[in-house]
């Protein structure tokens, strides 16, 4: 190893922290950048200031893991160059453009570990832009980090393990949960029995959450088809269909989502090749079992590499750190590598079970009506996609973006991208992998005005 080994880790969640720990333990000093003010990532996000709640209150069954991860990060703090509240908005010429407040700087690196995590995967339906509608992840952040419920009478809607987890966390914290509306069928949950061997504690915990919700009188419904969210200027109720019968429930807040989507923009800017992941219905950076991408010196770990959850993120972060050490010629513990890879393989199998238990609502793309807002930023309707297919012969996502501006707004397709793919593919009679993938563009998130100019004169 030479002194020129200066890795940069983007993301201080479970994956990024474990990668940093491995590098530090071999005497390497990585830079670690994260947009958040403190380490922990999404699941182990820390509050801005401490309050009366304990780690157990915040992180439940995962409290010990959260505390251990925060402890690790604090322990290596003086052996890394840590940039909190800093966004990496571009990558070029082996350097990251990183903005902190109004100041942007270039941070050169020899190696890059991307541990950028995920955000909620959402689908539009009527009323989804109303005040009082939040993502499931957003609902959880409101509670964990801010001690707030998203409303007085909350309905959780969608699919995925987070649906039951967040609902249960709300009930535990004293919020009123009016209903949990699961878009997948009850029969799909039987797939979880297969998962009992691989991850018994996770499966049993899931069943316990559902049972406790029901025991506390929360209506839990399966096979729900969302019809609309009612309200003039904020949420007043939700309407759904269940076996062709329409139901309505009054509520003032909706938390919803359909599993997660990976943050992959930086891997794109780094030049990594992507592959289509049929299980996640999304493109993800191609990687080997250790987290090496197709670009030499660029590694990827955690949910940003494909959705696998927090435990997998820790393991994959460690594995990617070890891969980097191997690649610079340092000795590594091969027994440990075997253990990590076996555990990751087992979790990956379990992901198949979860996907079968909480399947993506495939019927959505053909059922959603033309007038529903697809793009929140630019306020473009679903019908614009179908028009572009019919009138302009569009069959590719970036062409759709150029013609309709879908995916071009401030969120850069984070909120509408998955839905645009599904609607475009359905309108073309294609599968989602056939319509291409949205290209990332710098800055990958809006940066304050004036920052660019300052950088150019620097």
């Amino acid at each position: 190893m030479s002194d020129a080994t200066r890795p940069l880790i983007v993301g201080a969640g479970p994956a990024g922290i474990r990668a940093a720990q491995i590098l530090v333990s071999s005497g390497i000093r990585p830079a670690v950048i994260d947009e958040a003010p403190s380490g922990g990532g999404q699941i182990y996000r820390q509050r801005l200031v401490a309050d009366e709640r304990s780690a157990k209150d915040l992180y439940g069954s995962e409290a010990a893991k959260a505390t251990a991860l925060h402890g690790t990060f604090a322990g290596i703090r003086d052996r890394i160059d840590y940039y909190p509240e800093t966004l990496v908005w571009n990558l070029r010429d082996k350097a990251a453009d990183a903005v902190t407040g109004h100041r942007t700087r270039r941070i050169p690196f020899s190696h890059l570990i991307l541990a950028t995590g995920a955000t909620d995967r959402v689908l539009p339906f009527p009323g989804w832009t109303l005040p009082g509608v939040f993502t499931l992840g957003g609902s959880q952040i409101a509670l964990k980090s801010q001690g707030c419920a998203i409303g007085e009478e909350v309905v959780f809607l969608g699919s995925g393990p987070l649906l039951y987890l967040v609902a249960w966390q709300y009930v535990k914290a004293g919020a009123n949960v009016a209903a949990v509306l699961d878009t997948s069928q009850f029969s799909a949950k039987l797939h979880l029995l297969r998962g009992l061997f691989a991850q018994p504690s996770v499966v049993l915990r899931g069943f316990r959450y559902a049972a406790e919700l029901m025991a506390r009188g929360v209506a839990v419904r399966f096979g729900v088809q969302p019809v609309r969210i009612d309200g003039a200027t904020r949420v007043e109720g939700v309407v759904w269909r269940e076996r062709d019968v329409e139901h309505r429930l009054a509520c003032d807040a909706i938390g919803y989502g359909f599993s997660l989507r990976s943050e992959t923009q930086l891997a794109d800017l780094a030049g990594c090749r992507f592959v289509f992941d049929a299980r996640d219905r999304a493109w993800r950076p191609e990687r080997d079992g250790a987290g090496r991408t197709t670009m030499p010196g660029v590694y990827i770990a955690g949910d940003g590499a494909g959705i696998a959850g927090a435990d997998a993120a820790e393991l994959a972060g460690e594995r990617a750190g070890l891969a980097l050490l191997e690649d610079v010629g340092l000795s590594v513990d091969h027994v440990r590598i075997g253990v990590l890879e076996r555990k990751l393989a087992s979790i990956s199998k379990f992901r198949d079970v979860l996907e079968a238990a909480f399947p993506f609502p495939q019927a959505w793309a053909n059922g959603i009506s033309d007038d529903v807002t697809l793009c929140r930023c630019e306020e473009i309707a679903i019908g614009a996609v179908r028009d572009a297919v019919r009138d302009q012969g569009v069959f590719e996502l970036n062409r759709l973006k150029a013609l309709t501006r879908v995916g071009m707004g401030r969120c850069q397709g984070r909120m509408c991208g998955n839905a645009a793919v599904e609607v475009l593919a359905a309108a073309c009679g294609q599968s989602p992998d056939a319509v291409g993938r949205l290209r990332a563009q710098p800055p990958i998130k809006p940066i304050p005005l004036g920052v660019m100019a300052e950088e150019e004169t620097a």
Binding site: E35, A36, P37, Q42, R47, L48, V49, D51, E52, R53, T119, D120, T129, L130, P131, G132, V133, F134, T135, G137, G138, S139, I141, A142, L143, S145, Q146, G147, C148, A149, I150, G151, E152, A173, G174, A175, T233, R234, D252, A253, R376, C377, E378, E379, G409, R410, C411, R414, M415, K445, P446, P448, L449
Partner: protein
């Protein structure tokens, strides 16, 4: 009026700010989003139709929570900590 309901952190010190010129208070450790939505039900009008918006993802991804500050700046409410004396505006003209 409020969208969010506080379940914890009641005992933390108060932080004063103004919202559209009116005196308001939040708590130490609040984000600007929390501080506003525990008293109001909107953060901004949408850019084109002017329909009310109140954030969505709370994790800096959707960009649906930008609010104006007294000095004409814009901040992303969900990822900005509330500071004493902030002058926040949730009323702006839509783009078209």
């Amino acid at each position: 009026m409020a969208l969010l309901k506080r379940l914890a952190r009641h005992e933390l010190p108060v932080v004063s700010f103004t919202l559209n010129g009116e005196a308001c208070s939040g708590r130490v450790g609040d984000t600007v989003l929390t501080a506003i939505l525990t008293q109001s039900d909107r953060l901004r009008p949408s850019d084109f139709s002017g329909a009310p918006r109140a954030g969505f993802c709370q994790m800096g991804a959707c960009q649906d929570c930008w609010v104006l500050t007294g000095d004409g700046g814009r901040i992303r409410a969900c990822s900005t900590a509330l500071e004493p004396g902030m002058r926040l505006q949730t009323m702006m003209e839509p783009r078209s």
